[in-house]
């Protein structure tokens, strides 16, 4: 870490401190009382009984109609601001329909009850929000009994928009999405503002299921621990959605290695022309990290099929 870098860190910490300093000042107006929510929403049903009917059986079913033992009080006025004016003059212009609002304004309404990392992130760093998608782009309230009120409660819900990703999952090798052993949300969940692809951060996403490959190792393969905010790590070599090659590899054979590495001159001759007959990982077996040597070579190399690797003097210094 250079002095210049330390100064940047200090400036950023100061900025963060100032940012957090204003947090305790927050105090918002209180929500509607139970009595208000029930009595004032009741007036809406004189004209909008159909809305009450299509909420029946969903998590937003109206407390005063269908859910009198509910712990959370749900009423029309909680989601539709402007109701006071609408009661006096019942025109469309005098009532707010959240689906007709931008994300920021929908967020103000929905987050009155729903606020966890997902909703919070949507308002700031989530790419969906950045693309001007709002809560109602994926969720509908009226007439929907699906889990989380998503518009289409199918396994490939995300695929409705991400058709290109769906196609990748039908490649030669892919994660078992089709068998429902994993879902999109197993890897993509906006609770970590680390990278642009919404992933939980390379330190959790892949390791959640593949810890056997994760470090720390005494000798790391640097690409597996790129502490970068823009991908890197496992995805440098593997295409997580699907690949035409086995084991989700981006390229077959030595192609993956040659993305970053040239072929050392000695390898071109000593190993019968690397790339044609010998795979890099035949010798560099500990490609995800080694506890034995910095070249990520197989610790048992000298007792396996290349008995002379060390004895010949070529590799005796790499250990």
């Amino acid at each position: 870490m250079s002095k210049q870098g330390s100064a940047r860190v200090s400036r950023t910490l100061l900025l963060l401190f100032l940012l957090f300093a204003v947090l305790p000042l927050a105090a918002a107006s209180p929500p509607y009382s139970r009595d208000d929510m029930i009595s004032k929403s009741g007036a809406c049903l004189e004209c909008h009984q159909d809305a009450a009917d299509n909420l029946k059986g969903s998590t937003h079913q109206l407390t005063m109609v269908d859910d009198k033992m509910a712990k959370v009080i749900v009423g029309c006025i909680g989601c539709h601001p402007g109701w006071e004016k609408h009661l006096e003059d019942p025109t469309k212009e005098n009532i707010v329909v959240p689906a007709n609002l931008t994300l920021a304004k929908q967020g103000q309404i929905c987050s009155g009850c729903h606020l966890n990392d997902h909703q919070a992130t949507m308002l700031t760093t989530d790419p969906h929000g950045r693309a001007q998608l709002a809560c109602t782009s994926c969720h509908t309230v009226h007439g929907n009994k699906a889990r989380s009120l998503v518009k289409d409660d199918k396994d490939d819900f995300c695929g409705a928009c991400h058709t290109d990703v769906v196609a990748q999952f039908k490649s030669r090798s892919a994660h078992p999405l089709v068998t429902d052993n994993i879902r999109c949300s197993s890897c993509h969940f906006p609770d970590d503002r680390k990278d642009a692809a919404l992933a939980r951060g390379i330190d959790w996403t892949c390791q959640n299921c593949h810890s056997e490959y994760s470090g720390p190792h005494a000798f790391e393969h640097p690409v597996t621990e790129t502490y970068s905010f823009n991908g890197g790590g496992c995805t440098e070599c593997h295409d997580p959605h699907g690949s035409p090659n086995d084991r989700l590899l981006a390229q077959p054979g030595n192609g993956v290695c040659l993305q970053c590495h040239g072929i050392p001159p000695a390898h071109r001759t000593a190993h019968s022309g690397l790339g044609a007959k010998v795979a890099c990982v035949n010798c560099h077996t500990d490609i995800h990290g080694s506890d034995d040597n910095g070249k990520l070579l197989d610790p048992q190399l000298n007792t396996k099929f290349f008995a002379d690797c060390y004895q010949s003097g070529c590799h005796d210094k790499v250990r």
């Binding site: 966890n116 760093t125 090798s173 720390p216 035409p244």
Partner: protein, 517 residues
């Protein structure tokens, strides 16, 4: 462990059965039998890795609404099979929720299926609201994998087997306070990895995090967010530890006339027991947007980031532009472009400087009450002059869905993918074609039929073909009974590699009893 699994299965079955005995709900009980006829290399068609022959019992789409507004849901698929996939949850909005899950997955690695691994995962999560604005949450999971894999690059003609036997335990707990747009949450996560074959791999990971979101008082068009995270991974055999501390903050401004402004900053220091591996990351990003709900929206953004460790420092500059446009209410056009340049400022790194470009174009048209058609094109270019590599990936997809209310539902799509990888020594090129379609008839006198197919072809440096043809018929009788027959053909051929062929005929017969009470 077997006892715990049995207990979980019994609990999942027993709970809905109790509900059946005491009140109303709906769902499907399915009794089925699967016949599997496979020839060829069992390790190459991933779609059938987890299929087993035999009798299956399932409870699907079960839902029960208690009178006190509690809700119970369950999806218990193939309870009697080794590919069982069970999920169940019970809860009451605003009070609690409890979710249980268990699933198993088999992966085959050699021609005859002698080298396989089986992965199982059991999970539980619980949330509880002692008072309306406070949520306590926690949970855990137990994952294990046993069996043997085959070394993909082994020079041996039969491949080298690598035994696998490990377990991974995950647990978390935390609290969240929310009040009218304000949230403060803290969480602890832990993860223990234990390898029964190599204790050198055993490791513990822990994470603590604190996050907050708050609209500024009297200026609720400004939302501030921030958080802190500590993360550590420890190698239990040697106590070697890597830890990371990260702070972040964000501000979102909903400006007048539907303009918006977003800014976020992140700082992260990751270090190990050895000082020389400390790495700092710093990110600043700013996005400005405008939305007109009728006609469209546009966003532009810039990100500057820095990665600094003792060997080198590089800086990244990224630009982002995206927008959508609705010429008519039923049509939507979207475009996105991103550019990133990474420059090494101090020292050297293996891949030197790098440029990345990415763009997406998509359009969608929705026909009134009939369906929609979408066209999407995505491209990525990654270029590195220092090591003479260039990666170009392009993918175009057409996807359409049509519902002819009187007769059937149709979905079809085509995807074309093209990849070109070049480096100083070699190159790899492929072209993928994927064609798929399904048709399901409307129920006529109790009978529903469906048919579909997926065809995949990969060419140029590869020569792979695979397809899946599927058809099914379901007949409803006695109102709540259904008989279902499903036939699937899977075929795979790699014309360049010997023994890379596979064909499977799978017949599934189900008797389904609809529950409604």
């Amino acid at each position: 462990m077997r006892f715990a699994k049995a207990l979980l299965i019994v609990a999942m079955i027993w709970t809905p059965m109790m509900a059946v005995a005491t009140a109303a709900g709906n769902g499907d009980i399915k009794l089925g039998y699967i016949v599997l006829d496979e020839t060829g290399n069992l390790s190459i068609d991933r779609a059938t890795f987890n299929d087993y022959e035999g009798a299956s019992l399932s409870l699907e789409n079960f839902r029960y609404d208690f009178k006190n507004s509690m809700l119970l849901r369950a999806n218990l698929r193939n309870m009697t099979m080794n590919n069982r996939n069970l999920t169940a949850d019970i809860g009451k909005a605003g009070l609690f929720s409890l979710k249980l899950s268990h699933n198993q997955f088999r992966r085959i690695y050699d021609f005859h299926g002698g080298s396989t691994t089986r992965r199982h995962n059991e999970g539980v999560s619980l949330t509880f609201h002692p008072v309306r604005y406070i949520e306590l949450f926690g949970g855990g999971s137990n994952m294990g994998r046993t069996g043997s894999t085959t070394d993909l690059f082994s020079p041996s003609p039969v491949g080298d087997r690598v035994d696998v036997d490990y377990k991974q335990y995950f647990y978390n707990g935390g609290a969240r306070i929310t009040y009218r747009g304000m949230m403060v949450a803290s969480e602890f996560r832990g993860n223990r990895f234990r390898d029964n074959l190599n204790v050198n791999r055993d490791q513990d990971r822990t994470e603590g995090r604190l996050t907050a979101t708050v609209p500024v008082p009297r200026y609720d068009w400004i939302v501030l967010q921030g958080g802190f995270r500590h993360f550590a991974t420890k190698y239990t055999k040697t106590d070697f530890t890597i830890s990371s501390n990260r702070g972040w903050g964000a501000a979102a401004l909903a400006l007048p006339k539907n303009f918006s402004l977003k800014y976020y900053v992140m700082i992260d220091r990751t270090s190990s027991d050895s000082d020389y591996t400390a790495t700092d990351n710093l990110v600043h990003a700013l996005y400005a947007g405008f939305t007109n709900l009728r006609y469209g929206g546009v966003t532009i953004g810039y990100q500057h980031d820095l990665n600094d460790q003792y060997l080198r420092e590089y800086q990244g500059n990224s630009f982002h532009g995206s927008g959508w446009f609705k010429p008519v209410p039923r049509a939507e056009l979207r475009a996105e472009y991103g550019n990133r340049a990474e420059d090494v400022k101090e020292g050297v790194r293996l891949v030197g400087n790098e440029d990345l470009n990415r763009f997406r174009l998509s359009s969608k048209y929705r026909y009134a009450d009939i369906g929609n058609i979408a066209v999407k094109y995505e491209g990525k270019v990654r270029k590195n002059d220092d090591i003479g590599s260039k990666i170009t990936l392009n993918r175009a997809t057409i996807d359409c869905g049509v519902t002819l209310k009187k007769y059937a539902t149709l979905t079809a799509g085509y995807s074309y993918g093209k990849g070109d990888y070049e480096n100083s020594a070699s190159n790899f090129k492929f072209t993928d074609h994927l064609l798929y379609g399904d048709a399901t008839s409307r129920e006529y006198r109790g009978l529903t039929v469906s048919a579909g197919a997926t065809y995949y072809r990969s060419k140029r440096d590869l020569n792979v073909e695979s397809f899946n043809v599927r058809c099914s018929a379901a007949f409803r009788f006695y109102d709540d009974m259904r008989f279902e027959a499903i036939y699937n053909v899977h075929n795979f051929d790699d014309f360049l590699v010997r023994d890379e062929y596979y064909t499977a005929n799978i017949v599934e017969i189900n008797l389904i009893k609809g529950l409604s009470f």
